[in-house]
Amino acid sequence: MEGTEFSEEAFFAAIAASGARALLIGRRAMLALGAPVLTADYDYWAAFEDVETLNAAVAPMGLHPNRSPDEARRTGRYALENDEHVDVLIARAATTVTGEKLTFDDAWSRRQTVRCGAADVALPSLDDLIMTKRWSMREKDVVDIQFIERLRRKKP
C-alpha cells in the first residue's frame, strides 16, 4: 500500500487548526525544507501539555495513539498509527550525551513555518533541527546533519 488515501495537507491542517504546539522534526522536516531524503514515517515533538489536543486533532483521520496520554507522558514518547506512523516525542527537554540541552519551549519560540497547500507546518529552526539530530548519534544522523548544514549555508 502506498498510503494514497492519506491526505498530508489535511493532516497538517488538522494539527495547525487544533492549536496543539507540535514541531515536525526528522526527515519529513528535512524534505519540506529542501533535502531529498527517504523516510517512512512522521516525527513530531509536541508540547507536554498538548497530547490530548494533538490526539483529538488527528483522530478523525483514523490515527490512534498507541499509549494513553499519561503513559505517553511517563515514557516521553508514543505513536499515532493507522496505515501511517507518526512518532511523537513529548519531552519537555532533551539533552545530548555531550550535555547540550534543548527545551521544547525554546525550540517552539524559534520555530519556522512552511506552507503545505492550505496548511501551516511548524518546524524547528535549522540550528534546532541539527540539535535534534544529535540526540540519537547514529550514522544516519551524521548524514542528515551534513544535509541540514548545507541547507543552512544556502540561507540568505
Binding site: 527517504l38 517512512a40 555531550t98
Partner: protein, 77 residues
C-alpha cells in the same frame, strides 16, 4: 504507508548509536567536506530539488512517492 524492515546488518551499520566521540568526529568530518566537492555535489542536489519541487507540499509529496518506489524495489528483509 508500509515500512521497510532493514536487514540486521544494515540496521547495525546505519541505526545503531555511535560512541559520542566517534559521532562528533564523523559530524566534524562531514561538515568539513562541505567546503570541497562533496559540498558542491550536495548543493547541486539541493538546488535541483528546490527548483524541481519549489513548494514544501511538492517536496513532501515527492518524499512519499520516492519512498513508495524504494519500497517496491527493495528486497524483502
Amino acid at each position: 504507508m508500509k515500512r521497510q524492515k532493514l536487514t540486521p546488518e544494515v540496521e547495525a551499520l546505519y541505526l545503531a548509536p555511535l560512541p559520542p566521540e566517534e559521532f562528533e568526529r564523523r559530524v566534524r568530518a562531514s561538515i568539513a567536506e562541505l567546503d570541497g566537492p562533496e559540498g558542491e555535489n550536495l548543493g547541486e542536489l539541493i538546488d535541483w530539488f528546490l527548483r524541481r519541487y519549489p513548494t514544501p507540499a511538492e517536496r513532501l509529496a515527492y518524499g512519499r512517492r520516492a519512498y513508495a518506489r524504494w519500497l517496491r524495489a527493495a528486497p524483502q528483509a
